[in-house]
């Protein structure tokens, strides 16, 4: 008996050894394949339905809009040139003749008209969540509203012929060209009409970008290969882009170390926090943490006592040590924020933040304490009630606890912290059922409006109940003028009202996008908003 | 006496058990013989060592914790205590068979009765399945089970208590062993069934010529079935004799006490029963002298110091008691 069992054990060990020998090729460059982690399965690859960064990262390789982003500039894409009317409300795009779909069909202006109208269709199946990105177009919003009586022919986009696309806007929108490089503005092939499920499988997928979809193993991996029909195919040096979908940051870290992926971290991956801190401290050459145009802030319920009092809000804002927060808690090389529009957003000639003063308030614990007392008195309260800072799962907990601690030390108040499940958290925040909550906002396009117009009275993303007529007026001015300098001035003033005068929200820091990239990977672009463009990348031998 | 028909000869067997609280002496110096065709009863109360003796004959005592400290067991001319385990496997079920007290737990509940019989036949007599099945059914018929071919495919829980014991007998006798050891075979059965089983065993013994060792604490059974009787107390044989000798002329005080304590049908209802006072000794620390003396009406000084040898009263009758020693005779 003993002998038999020992033999069995030995057999098992031998089998495991053999299995392990046939596994693990480790995988690495040498071939022109770029490997990256998406973390999750893209909910969709249909430009009309896209809503999240995982989908958009894959789409960057698959599609191209009228314009493209190259090294931070908006350059020609599917449209080789365009004419803009004097009032800035009419654009005529000239589609290049050699633009082709991945199946060889030419890309025409009709494709764009069809696609945008499709996205705006109120009974699209399912309706497009990001349709509002197209609302700049004349009658777009009305058409998207069912029972509004506006017919599709009235929407301001029309193909004059195969190569000319005429677009009419509601208002002169100086950043419209930048918008046309955005995912929602990508074209789709006409054949999608016949097959609504075209975007769910590689076999039926047609796209017009530098790559085409070779395979989509749902929930597991996506492979892109260069499209022979792309007009700039000579610029494309990669032979394959391989996306994996690894949920666990530790697993991602392991895969990066073994070379199974070439890129780890944002925009779609995650570096475990403690490792990130170590990499930063060691000045690991494979790590970069470029600033991205996103802001991390706390929303304060302006409709609830005592947060309705501006002095109370200012006191809270001024008694946080942002430097300590960034260095000791978040540890990603972020920048403390004393305004709302982050660096990276265009101003008139330079960066918005370079032209507009970003120090709208100062940290001052003593002054804060004074203001708090005054504010409470104005509200007829003698002491600050115990309130709650809420947030969803993640690093936010440590941030909140650090801040609660600072408030306790500097203002002598007691603050509770509470993790709330994601959707419940969103619901509470939108319905103003909270005291203070964590929030973050990233740019959709390269203009200050992407950060400021959300605070209009009654705005869908105005989660604080901010109501300011002067602010609204300035925003309207900035959205209806075409002169950039006027616009920037108006936006600067609006930001001042929001933060300096009213402290409607409490800015904390501007994001960075920490990531690790293997030294042999070259040519990857990260744009101002932290999105990755791998289309022109290559592997150095 | 070395007869050709002595089937089993146990000499000065000593078996002990190693436990946490020390060594427990289970069997202290047991000697007896068994002839061919004979039915021998080993009588005693719980803890007397009778089951251990019987199981030792088949080397069924697990060791550890049990160990044979001395003595010999000769069976059919073979030295049982020197056999290897493999050799014992060849003997068990083939030359020796055993049936146990509780047939419900002693039969495998998830195996058909038939299979439990054929298993023995296939192993020891190299029969194939078909032959074994036929023989098994024959055995079932032999032990008095009706519709034996149906019974063959049934499970123990489908049998009544008495039927199960019959099945056990069928299993034990399947290979026609020389010796059958029956360890309290009727203790767990109704009185009426008891009689039937004993009847069966007697019948089979006559027909097959099997030697039987019947272990029991019930003297009533002994009277029915056995030729000779051995009485054990505290690991030793205290008296042996023929049935007549033991019942009509018991010598050892313990035997006398046993017989006296038997309730009788012709006793008046309200007459009290006569038990033996006291309890058996602790076998972890057995007494030096006679183990029965503190319960014995006739205890003498020497009883506490030295235990007597077996004193013969006739060719077949002997007892271990100073009362009968020539120097100590009081009568």
């Amino acid at each position: 008996m003993k002998v038999k069992l020992t033999f069995l054990l030995a057999a098992v060990v031998a089998m495991v050894a053999v299995l392990s020998a046939c596994g693990s090729d480790g995988g690495s460059g040498g071939d022109q394949t770029f490997r990256m982690n998406l973390t999750a399965e893209p909910p969709t690859l249909d430009p009309a339905l896209i809503q999240d960064q995982v989908s958009s990262t894959v789409m960057t390789g698959l599609f191209e809009g009228l314009t493209r982003n190259e090294k931070g500039e908006t350059v020609a894409g599917m449209a080789e040139k365009w004419d803009i009317s004097d009032d800035g409300k009419k654009y005529t795009f000239h589609i290049r003749k050699d633009a082709k779909w991945s199946n060889g069909d030419p890309v025409t202006a009709h494709d764009f008209e069809y696609s945008w109208k499709r996205t705006l269709d109120p009974v699209m199946s399912p309706p497009a969540p990001y349709a509002y990105q197209l609302y700049y177009i004349k009658n777009a919003e009305k058409y998207n509203t069912p029972d509004s009586g506006v017919k599709v022919e009235e929407v301001g986009v029309k193909a004059l012929d195969d190569s000319r696309l005429e677009v009419e806007l509601e208002n002169p929108t100086p950043y419209f060209l930048n918008l046309t490089s955005f995912y929602t503005y990508f074209p789709v092939h006409k054949s999608v009409k016949e097959n609504p499920k075209w975007a769910a499988e590689a076999s039926s997928f047609v796209s017009n970008g530098p790559f085409k979809l070779e395979s989509w193993q749902h929930n597991d991996s996506i492979d892109l290969v260069p499209s022979e029909n792309y007009y700039l195919k000579d610029e494309i040096k990669l032979q394959k882009v391989h996306f994996v979908m690894i949920e666990d940051p530790n697993t991602e870290a392991n895969m990066y170390e073994t070379g199974e992926i070439d890129w780890s971290g944002l925009p779609t991956g995650n570096i475990p926090t403690e490792q990130l801190a170590k990499f930063l401290a060691d000045k690991n050459p494979e790590l970069s943490a470029p600033a991205t145009a996103s802001t991390y802030y706390y929303v304060v319920n302006n409709t609830k006592k005592p947060f309705n009092n501006v002095k109370v809000r200012k006191a809270l804002a001024m008694s946080i040590d942002r430097k300590a927060l960034v260095e000791k808690v978040v540890k990603g090389g972020q920048t403390p924020a004393y305004a709302y529009v982050p660096p990276g957003i265009r101003g008139t000639d330079k960066d918005f933040r370079e032209e507009v003063d970003g120090n709208l308030f100062k940290e001052d614990a003593v002054e804060a304490k004074k203001l708090l007392a005054e504010g409470l008195a104005e509200e007829g309260m003698t002491a600050m009630p115990v309130f709650e800072v809420s947030f969803n799962e993640g690093l936010h907990k440590q941030v909140a606890e650090a801040i609660a601690d600072m408030w306790n030390k500097n203002l002598g108040i007691t603050v509770k912290t509470q993790t709330v499940e994601w959707k419940v958290f969103l619901q509470n925040r939108t319905s103003l059922a909270y005291d203070i909550a964590r929030s973050g906002w990233g740019a959709d396009y390269n203009d200050g409006m992407t950060f400021l117009d959300m605070w209009l009275t009654g705005g869908g993303n105005n989660d604080v109940g901010f109501k300011n007529a002067e602010f609204d007026k300035l925003i309207k001015e900035a959205s209806t003028t075409s002169d950039q300098k006027t616009r920037v001035d108006a936006m600067a003033k609006a930001e001042k009202i929001l933060i300096q005068d009213n402290m409607a929200i409490i800015p904390l820091y501007y994001y960075t996008s920490p990531h690790l990239v293997k030294p042999h990977v070259k040519g990857i672009e990260m744009d101002y908003k932290g999105d990755i463009d791998y289309t022109r990348a290559y592997m150095e031998e | 006496m070395n007869d050709n028909d002595t089937v089993l000869s146990v000499k000065e067997l000593q078996v002990a058990f190693r436990t946490r609280s020390g060594e427990v002496q289970g069997v202290r110096n047991v000697t007896f013989d068994l002839k061919k065709g004979e039915a021998l009863a080993i009588v005693g109360e719980s803890g007397s060592g009778k089951s251990v003796t019987a199981q030792s004959i088949m080397r069924l005592i697990p060791s550890p914790p049990g160990m044979v400290k001395g003595g010999t067991i000769q069976f059919n001319g073979q030295n049982i205590l020197k056999k290897s385990e493999k050799e014992m496997e060849a003997i068990r079920g083939k030359e020796m068979g055993m049936i146990f007290q509780d047939p419900m737990t002693s039969l495998n509940p998830t195996m058909t009765i038939g299979r439990q019989i054929t298993e023995v036949l296939i192993k020891h007599q190299n029969m194939d399945k078909k032959q074994a099945r036929l023989r098994a059914i024959e055995m079932l018929r032999l032990v008095g089970l009706p519709s034996p071919d149906q019974r063959f495919s049934q499970y123990p829980h489908e049998f009544s208590g008495g039927m199960r014991q019959r099945a056990m007998i069928a299993i034990a006798l399947a290979c026609d062993p020389t010796l059958l050891i029956a360890d309290e075979p009727t203790t767990a059965l109704d009185v009426t069934i008891q009689a039937q089983i004993l009847e069966l065993m007697k019948d089979l013994q006559e027909r097959l010529g099997t030697s039987i060792i019947l272990i029991t604490h019930d003297l009533g059974i002994v009277a029915d079935m056995c030729d000779r009787v051995i009485v054990m107390y505290a690991g030793k044989v205290v008296e042996e004799g023929t049935k007549d000798e033991i019942f009509k002329n018991p010598k050892h005080p313990y035997t006398r006490g046993l017989l006296r304590s038997l309730p009788r049908l012709d006793q008046p209802k309200d007459e009290p029963l006569i038990p033996i006072d006291g309890t058996p000794p602790n076998m972890a620390n057995p007494p030096i002298g006679c183990a029965f003396c503190d319960r014995c009406d006739f205890a003498m000084k020497i009883c506490t110091e030295v235990d007597s040898k077996m004193i013969t009263h006739s060719e077949t009758h002997a007892s271990r008691c100073w009362l009968h020693h020539s120097s100590y005779r009081e009568e």
Partner: protein, 315 residues
């Protein structure tokens, strides 16, 4: 036999129905909906979406529509994964989970029984003590801790295996280990204690008295009786492995169903939540059902199938 099967099937269907109803209403009762994102969509768009999915209809009507679809075995389309039907998602993902799960179950049973058996046979010796120590650790150490550790050492540091995925046979080794350690520990302990009990049973003594060899006794007599509790553990074990797979699949990057189990709730992807819940419930019930059948097959004392004679007869 037919009656038994029929009864069980009806049972399962009824249970699933109750489960579907409970899940439906619980799900709708939680705050939040599939459409809320960090960046809120404007009301117009939100209304379009609500209308499209029929959420503007009264709750009972939504429930009836859902029930109707269910009866036609239509689980609907996922609300988050566009154009992917719930059945496709489940079928696809479950293929991975099933492979891993089956391997883990088989390994758990074989290794667990082997370890338990060895421990019982060498009772009180060093092997027994070591085996039980291992079993205790196996139950105590959470599988994500174990998974992370073996991944780090064997895939990263020593490069014996790939870190993630199920692309070739060697990829099964680490996740199977992480997934089966707990069931192995349970089965080992169960087997050991049952076997110890069985080995000291009277009928084992009888078998020995028949001259049957110890290996044969073990296999033919002891195992069958000793494995009954293990068989009845298969049900809970399947549950363990399914829930354990959520974490293990995440750590080893396996495209299984476990990920969707929790993610669908986070996303309030109602159709997917319902589909997965019912699917898992069906699997568990099926596992229990198999266990019942296996049990009845092994233990003839369970009156599920009436063979020939049957019953008792007078002495």
């Amino acid at each position: 036999m037919i009656r038994f099967l029929l009864r069980k099937t009806v049972n399962i269907v009824l249970s699933l129905f109750v489960l579907a109803t409970a899940t439906f209403f619980l799900m709708k009762a939680i705050p939040g909906d599939p459409f809320m994102q960090e960046k809120n969509v404007p009301d117009v768009v939100r209304q379009n979406l609500i209308k499209f999915y029929g959420f503007d209809k009264p709750m009972w009507e939504q429930y009836l529509v859902y029930l109707n679809n269910l009866i036609h075995l239509d689980l609907g389309m996922s609300m988050r994964q566009q154009y992917q039907s719930v059945s496709d998602i489940i079928a696809r993902s479950f293929t991975y989970s099933l492979q891993l799960g089956l391997v883990a179950i088989v390994v758990s049973i074989i290794v667990g029984i082997a370890v338990g058996l060895i421990a019982a046979l060498y009772h009180r010796k060093l092997i027994d003590k070591l085996a039980m120590l291992f079993a205790t650790l196996g139950i105590a150490v959470p599988n994500f801790v174990l998974g992370t550790i073996i991944q780090y050492y064997f895939a990263n540091k020593f490069r014996f295996f790939d870190v993630a995925g199920l692309n070739d046979p060697s990829d099964f080794v680490l996740p199977t280990i992480a997934l089966s350690v707990l069931p192995i520990a349970f089965i080992a302990r169960l087997t050991r204690s049952t076997m110890l009990e069985v080995l000291s049973a009277d009928y084992i003594r009888t078998a020995k008295a028949k001259g049957i060899g110890s290996l044969t006794i073990l296999i033919r007599h002891a195992l069958r009786n000793g494995l009954l509790p293990v068989v009845s553990y298969v049900g809970p074990m399947t549950a363990n492995i399914i829930t354990g797979s959520v974490v293990v699949e995440s750590i080893f990057g396996i495209a299984g169903l476990g990920k969707f189990f929790t993610m669908s709730v986070s996303n309030r992807d109602y159709t997917l939540i319902m589909g997965i819940t019912l699917f898992y419930a069906a699997i568990l019930m099926f596992a229990r059902f198999l266990t019942d059948i296996a049990y009845a097959l092994i233990d003839p004392r369970i009156k599920m199938m009436k063979k020939g004679g049957g019953g008792h007869a007078a002495g």
